[in-house]
């Protein structure tokens, strides 16, 4: 029995070079300090890999981890994290997904899987209730996610109970923004974790389990979960999410001028309604489908019944609709739905895919890219046929797709000719559907996120549509009204810092940011109550907040070792210098330096270099990282 309840108590350590899989006990001291999930990964990877690790080399370490609340009754407790050094950003890489796989892993007796080495031949893992087998994936290699799912089910001889996690062809072909997929349509998409899995020649992990997740306080547990469930369902946001999912954000973002259009030329898309949530619900929705223990059910199935873009499968989120749609100037909604479906099959991050194609389109329109280079594809904004064609070409690295499979940052380096100016990436990763000019906190959050451009690391959404009550609760009334104004850079450093600290806690315990960040239903107090009732750790709110700060600082130190400084916490020139041309943010740019100063001050990081102060690191129990600060930043003796 593991010291704390809520955990399965075991970690599966897989050495693919030697084709060995050995269950090891989970480290109780480690989970006390880092909880699990993202926190667990941050510590293990910090200890095991560093600047010399090649992201696609056998020395990189791939971790898939759940949190103590994954698989429990906490609303939306369905999350797992995939982490490694990123082949896209060359720094800290992590991606999160929901579905039923994470919960099943815990029922099978494991909290996490650590994958090292590289298999000589393609393999997959079969975890059957604690028993582990490394099997040949010879027939599976080269198959897309949907095909692999069906074949695997036949091979392991179990119908619908087994849960699968896999990569598609994009991961196999080392596309730098390949995703790790699970349960057909769920994606741990960002930072190219699929390419890392592909580099290890690990095609899939099939899991089935029937073990209990023990609960510490089994008397009060049901009552507490009832209370949290009622609170979640009572939030007016929940019904909207259930009805429309995130696609309805297309209309909302367009209204506030934050819908990136034609590679961030503007934040207002004239065809927003043609690709928006209302239309998708009316014409293409099959039904909402929830992930494990999810009350919000923003996941859904859609179907295009006929025509060149016919399919049935998971529905795109807002990010996909904006990145593949408005960002590429595309108004043909069926083509976006289909491109999303192809991305799920091939295992591609739709955010980076859309960002890269939008960059190529702008370069083409400006004459930087020629027909000769694109292989005759007319890459104009709005050309949906070209976009759909490129999805396959990128996944298989065919022709022009081979260049784009490197991501926009690397592609621009390769072709030069001033194309770098149009790369909308931060720390080499493409920005998702977020324009910081229309919401300053999002601009800052994207610049500071540990895994490169990322709206979710901080997910500062409370100033988006006026959650004044939550802002008051979380940050204090004295910062109102400025902190709640999306175009005002004041106090956004505070907001982003606090949101980052809480977000990593959310991702470490294994629950979703819906319900915690937006709608802001649960904060530290509720998460803490659930955590203590489930695990019996007896944590205090102060400890939990410190844990969040510890994980953020450890991620920062991981990046500091890779040379990340203040100069890297920046945004593309366009967002800093070109004012937004229309809509509510007209005339606005991101006042990044002002916000960064506040952010670094609150973090206890050096305002000039962005390096964490040794004092701060020591206070957070991160003494072991101090030796990795560059010489000038180290304390003098």
């Amino acid at each position: 029995m593991f010291k704390y309840c809520g955990y399965a108590g075991q970690v599966l350590e897989v050495d693919l070079t030697r084709l060995k899989a050995i269950p090891k006990p989970l480290d109780a001291v480690l989970v006390r300090g880092y909880l699990g999930g993202a926190g667990f990964c941050s510590r293990v990877l910090y200890d095991e890999i560093g600047p010399r690790t090649r992201p696609l080399g056998p020395e990189n370490v791939l971790i898939i981890a759940t949190g103590p609340l994954t698989g429990t009754l906490f609303p939306q407790a369905s999350r797992h994290v995939v982490a490694a050094k990123s082949p896209l950003t060359d720094i800290w890489g992590e991606a999160h997904a929901a579905g039923h796989w994470g919960a099943e892993l815990k029922f099978a007796g494991f909290d996490a899987i650590i994958v090292r080495g590289r298999s000589p031949k393609p393999v997959y893992l079969w975890i059957d209730d604690g028993r582990v087998e490394i099997r040949s994936a010879r027939g599976l290699w080269g198959k897309d996610v949907y095909e692999a799912d069906e074949m695997l089910r036949e091979e392991v001889g179990d119908g619908w109970c087994t849960k699968m996690l896999y990569i598609g062809q994009a991961g196999e072909n080392l596309v730098r923004f390949a995703a790790v997929m699970n349960d057909l349509d769920r994606a741990a998409a960002r930072t190219g974790m699929g390419a890392v899995m592909g580099s290890k020649r690990l095609k899939a992990i099939a899991v089935r389990g029937s073990k209990d997740i023990p609960i510490a306080d089994d008397r009060g547990y049901m009552e507490l979960m009832d209370e949290l469930r009622v609170k979640m369902l009572a939030d007016p946001f929940t019904q909207g999410r259930a009805d429309y999912g995130t696609p309805s954000l297309v209309e909302l973002m367009n209204e506030i001028g934050r819908l990136p259009t034609r590679n961030y030329e503007t934040g207002v898309f004239e065809h927003a309604e043609e690709i928006g949530g209302k239309l998708i619900r009316r014409k293409y929705l099959v039904k909402p489908r929830a992930d494990f223990a999810c009350l919000q059910r923003c996941g859904r199935y859609t179907c295009v019944p006929a025509g060149p873009y016919a399919y049935i499968g998971g529905s795109p989120e807002y990010e996909t609709l904006s990145c593949v749609g408005s960002k590429c100037g595309i108004s043909n909604v069926e083509s976006i739905l289909y491109a999303h479906h192809l991305c799920n099959r091939y295992g591609i991050d739709t955010c980076s895919l859309g960002g890269t194609i939008a960059w190529a389109m702008e370069c083409y329109e400006r004459g930087i890219l020629t027909d000769e280079e694109t292989g005759g594809i007319e890459l104009k904004f709005g050309n949906h046929e070209a976009m759909v064609k490129l999805v396959g070409m990128i996944a298989f690295r065919e022709g022009f797709g081979d260049l784009l499979a490197e991501g926009s940052y690397r592609a621009a380096q390769k072709i030069g000719r001033g194309s770098k100016k149009y790369v909308m990436a931060i720390k080499k990763q493409e920005i998702a559907g977020q324009d910081g000019r229309a919401q300053k906190s999002m601009g800052l959050g994207n610049a500071t996120a540990a895994r490169g451009a990322d709206h979710l690391y901080a997910f500062p959404v409370l100033d988006e549509v006026g959650f004044e009550k939550a802002i008051k609760e979380r940050f204090g009334a004295r910062y109102l009204p400025e902190i709640g104004e999306k175009l005002n850079p004041r106090y956004k450093g505070l907001m982003v810092k606090e949101c980052e600290d809480f977000a990593v806690v959310v991702e470490s315990v294994g629950v979703c940011k819906y319900g915690t960040m937006i709608p802001p239903t649960f904060y530290y107090r509720d998460v803490l109550r659930a955590l203590n009732a489930t695990t019996g750790m007896g944590l205090t709110e102060r400890e939990l907040r410190r844990t969040g700060e510890r994980i953020v600082n450890l991620n920062r130190m991981f990046n500091v070792r890779h040379g990340i400084r203040r100069r890297d916490d920046t945004l593309p020139e366009r967002l800093l210098k070109e004012p937004s041309p229309e809509g509510p943010p007209k005339g606005h740019v991101v006042e990044l330096d002002y916000m960064l100063d506040e952010y670094y001050r609150l973090r206890g990081w050096d305002p000039k270099t962005g390096l964490p102060a040794p004092k701060k690191l020591r206070a957070l129990g991160l003494d072991f990282t101090i030796k990795h600060l560059p010489k000038r930043g180290r304390p003098s003796r």
Binding site: G71, T72, H100, D218, R229, L233, K287, F292, R297
Partner: protein, 158 residues
């Protein structure tokens, strides 16, 4: 004869019912110990399956230990665990896969209509229904579907 009905249209497949069921009956979080199952099939099918509390239950007929009976008083099919010998004949006989053997005790378990899951389903997909109620609803659905056509055929005030 009431039984636990799961509506496949409303069900989203979150499996909260399984967790609550196992928690209530076994004080453990483990969907495999639940007395009902949500079948998730592709594409887009989610169906909660539980005992239909049949009038003439085949599981009772084949039980060699006579452990399964239909209780008239409770209006339920019940399993007498002291008699059950864990042979699994009932599992073979049930046309719904709604009875199976417990992972550890190896005795037959099935929905006992405790209703813990019903109010906790976030979409209201679970209900305690009778065949009359369900048939009623189906008739109403049919009429609603035909309403536009029917209205064309009748005189309505203009």
């Amino acid at each position: 004869m009431p039984y636990l009905y799961g509506d496949p249209i409303k069900c989203t497949g979150c499996r909260i019912c399984e967790l609550y069921c196992a928690l209530f009956h076994e004080r453990a979080l483990n969907p495999k110990k639940a007395r009902l199952r949500v079948v998730r099939a592709e594409p887009a099918i989610d169906k909660p399956v539980a005992c239909h509390q049949c009038a003439d239950p085949p599981c009772a007929k084949v039980c060699p230990a006579d452990a399964i009976t239909r209780s008239i008083k409770l209006d339920l099919v019940t399993v007498d665990l002291t008699k059950c010998m864990g042979c699994g004949a009932c599992v073979e006989a049930c046309p719904f896969g709604a009875i199976w053997l417990h992972l550890e005790s190896k005795k037959a378990i099935k929905c006992d209509l405790c209703k813990v899951c019903v109010p906790r389903c976030p979409t209201g997909a679970l209900s305690v229904a009778t065949s009359e109620k369900i048939a009623d609803q189906k008739r109403l659905d049919l009429v609603n579907r035909w309403k536009p056509v029917m209205l064309e055929c009748v005189q309505t005030p203009r």
